[in-house]
Amino acid sequence: MLAARVVKEQGVHVEGLNFYTGFCVEGHTHAVRAQDKARPKRNNALWVAEQLDMKLHIIDVVEDYKDVVINPRHGYGQFMNPCLDCKGFMVGKAREWMEANGFDFIITGEVIGQRPKSQLKRTMPVIASESGAHERLLRPLCAKLLEPTLPEREGWVNRDKLFDWSGRSRKPQMELAESFGFEDYAQPAGGCCFLTDPSYSRKLQDLWQARGARRYELDDIMLLKMGRHLRPRPHFKLIISREDGENRFMHGYRKQFTHLVPTSHGGPLALLDGEARDGDLELAARLVARFSQGRDADLVRVAVAERNGPERELTVTPMAADDVPREWYVA
């Protein structure tokens, strides 16, 4: 945001690019859960574009991004976040867009040393070269600590008016934001995606382990964002919604999964991912009953609809909290 503003200030026409990987943390994707509703329900990138009076193009990179997550050449960060590969990938996509749309250079808001691994002085050239952007990649916030790039040498931007920031302190950024009159300037301090979330990362690893292969579809990673995930058996897990918003969203997936919902008591929708063998549906129903309003009842009726199969009702004893082994909770 600041980087764009700094360059725009010099009279350069700037448009924003935002890449949608499927793992992005959106104000309201997060807020599928009603309890998160207090948070502003806004798309951050769009909000930034409005503040800067700048066009924003949101680009779907879900398919191409898979290879970044599955086979990161530079490995993962603290969790399943392949930040360095990710940045190279995104700047590479920006370069393609720049070339296709007649733009001259790319700017990013990196600050040397702000994030471990992906924002070090030695990784800056890695991103520039792996993306193919090379000299056309300008980092206005730390440009003075780096070799002059093409836009600086050509005089498209004035290097003297760029910055030399490094380190984790956000103070200079906050001050500049204030001088620009940005209210509510909130750059995420952690990561910008679910891959930096420990519980999400566990769910992704569990998914790969259960499938015996490192692969995913968009639906898989969307569902990792919601519900409780319990894996009572290696060959299946249950995704149990936690509240209305998730219930509604998961409803859309009913046809693709065997699913369960309590009928005698209020309770959550649960999707069964994997295959249910003998006795598994009853076990699943007992678990779902455990999270229903009938958790203390002797018996709970649960409707079970198998994928592409008939619907029937099972009457089960809800599982007691102590009977659910901790290791069943994936996250």
Binding site: G27, H28, R42, N43, L46, D53, K55, L56, D60
Partner: protein, 83 residues
Amino acid sequence: MPEPVVVDARGLLCPMPVIRTQDAIAGLSPGCCVQVLATDPGVHADLPAWCRVHGHTLEAIEESSDADGAISAWIRVGNGGAT
């Protein structure tokens, strides 16, 4: 009045409805009308913001009373937007 181009983004979470709308509008001329169908309530914030920065006019956005609770938005394609 020509029929609106319909973008069906029901069942998709944000920002997919915006991406689908953006892709549909990329091939249209100013003045064309697009109807977006979506179920993610996030479009109430995102579509107006996206229209504002691209200079399109959001003519209406309303909830339907159907069981699927789809949201309908009508957009008139503009010819510019933020510079």
